[in-house]
Symmetry: C2
Subunit: 340 residues, 2 copies
């Protein structure tokens, strides 16, 4: 395991060397840098931050695409087919996963590279399973930083897959330029099982498995989704979210999807939405992470950990008011901070 090497500090690679190899497109260097980013150790954290501070922005910004859909919709097959199409166009493709529910890296989503058999073997592709969460910002930070590393290593397209668990879709939406929702036929049934607000996130809906006996149902679903989209406000200013159909398995409709993505990027780069969004995402990331870390420090403070169960019980039983309880807790924390 490469990871072990980093536990023995003597053998470690200097940051400068790692950065130049990474920027030269060396996959081993990229994998090592990501391992540092994903580590939960304070020491690796510092080193990873040094690397991130040293890398320069790529000349051409990459294309960051989020992909989601319920289990069984065919996400792996779609990414395999779509990724292969992009590789064959000469593009370098990185596939990352976000799984906010994973406490330990079980490789549950993408660890099994056989899920994307062809893409996993392609020399222009790089597949990385979902990181585990940790104390220094969790899955969210690690994925964002991994995107930056992949871009520095020259990857043109970053595909970020998420399962429909917890806040996965919203987290991924906040780190990509373009968001694609994969769906199946039977819009009504499927929409009932989707989480609230999901329908308002995508820049494109793709009805997958539009082949063979399923084709007519897919055409109907495409129409239904377009009807609903007509009533919803598109996520991206100046862009109309549409539904289209495809078959990842039969490789039908893949080129049309890519053309839509290209049209999206030319539109949003021209009207300024692309760069505004990237800037805003960076700012949101800063403030979100501050609040996340602040809450972490608070709720993990020994004093608060001791008090909170009594406070919660008192409030729910109606013995204490919410505002008073909050005031007391915050005051106790502000006086005892240094202890944490």
């Amino acid at each position: 395991m490469r990871y072990k090497k980093y536990n023995r500090r003597k053998q470690e690679i200097p940051v400068d060397d790692l950065v130049s190899r990474l920027q030269g497109g060396e996959r081993v260097a990229l994998a090592q840098a990501i391992t540092l980013v994903e580590s939960n150790s304070e020491y690796h954290f510092e080193k990873a931050q040094d690397i991130l501070q040293s890398i320069t922005n790529p000349a051409n910004p990459s294309v960051r695409i989020g992909i989601t859909g319920v289990p069984g919709v065919g996400k792996s097959t779609f990414i395999d087919t779509f990724g292969m199409y992009l590789c064959e166009k000469g593009l370098k493709v990185a596939v990352l996963a976000v799984d906010p529910s994973s406490q330990v890296s079980k490789g549950s989503i993408l660890g099994d590279k056989t899920r994307m058999e062809r893409l996993a073997r392609h020399k222009q592709a790089f597949i990385r399973p979902s990181p585990s969460s940790g104390t220094l910002g969790g899955v969210n930070r690690k994925t964002r930083e991994t995107i930056l590393l992949c871009e520095a290593a020259g990857f043109d397209v970053i595909l970020i897959e998420t399962v429909g668990v917890g806040q996965g879709e919203f987290v991924v939406r906040s780190m990509v330029d373009f968001f694609l929702l994969l769906v199946l036929t039977g819009a009504g049934d499927e929409l009932q099982t989707m989480k609230k607000g999901i329908m308002e996130l995508p820049d494109l809906i793709v009805v997958n498995k539009a082949d063979g006996d399923n084709l007519n149902k897919a055409i109907k679903a495409e129409h239904e989704y377009n009807t609903i989209l007509h009533f919803l406000k598109p996520y991206t200013e100046g862009w109309t979210t549409k539904a289209m159909r495809a078959s990842a398995l039969k490789e039908i409709g893949i080129e049309e999807i890519w053309k839509t993505v290209e049209r999206f990027f030319s539109t949003t780069k021209e009207n300024g939405v692309f760069s505004n969004r990237r800037m805003q995402q960076k700012k949101d990331w800063l403030y979100d992470m501050i609040k996340e870390q602040l809450a972490y420090q608070f709720f993990h403070h020994p004093l608060i950990k001791e008090k909170i169960p009594f406070i919660e019980k008192g409030v729910l039983d109606g013995e204490k008011t919410v505002a008073n309880s909050v005031e007391q807790l915050i005051a106790a924390f502000m006086n005892a901070k240094g202890l944490g």
Copy 2:
């Protein structure tokens, strides 16, 4: 102004006395207690909390209804007509407003009681304009506490109005049992101007102004909204959100609305959703207020206020990493003991 009285501490009314008068249904006592709740002074805050801690829960829990809709939809007329209908049924009705955008109480929403002319004069009704925000929890806390005071004073129905500004609808949704969205005819156009996610909040959609020449358009809109609702997940478990039409001006359809509200309460009280929701709302309120106050302490800390503009610039310019900046800021805050 009654408010001034409280600034002269000598003349103040003891908590016990105020509480017993308030629970006896005395309107003056209720108004005084709300003024304390709304005050931004630390001293009044303590006193308000004493009152809140002293009041006992009403024997029959009240009905908390949130009402929203775009400007021009006829919210005032609707509340006037709906409120009068309820008063005539023998119920006591309180009308509150939430306007998260109001920094100072301009009485912008409900201050002008002529907006609800008939209801404002009715002895069973109580109308209170939107409070201003402040440092001890803001509009959100003040409205929640005012609800509790109104309930202790024996009001049966609490109507909470919000304008479609900022997070108003989401804030109100988090403090009510039932949420009503007022709309106009022309679903497609209107939906395009609504904020993302609004359509997934209500327990009932009412197409207002369904009278005269507008009736046919209202019937069409009712149908369109029901089509969209069919594809969305209802907000309340075990309840199907439907659209219906009404005319607040002509007093048509008001009884049907109240029957729907009654059916909602009997359903959700039977399946446990009502009490679970109230419990969860209280818990969410506690944790939301903790995070809000924590962020307030942080961003108002002199050390952070000084550092944050440089940090933000460094991050946006790409000179510093997000994670590193956050770590430094949090460490500085945690070490800056007692300064806050």
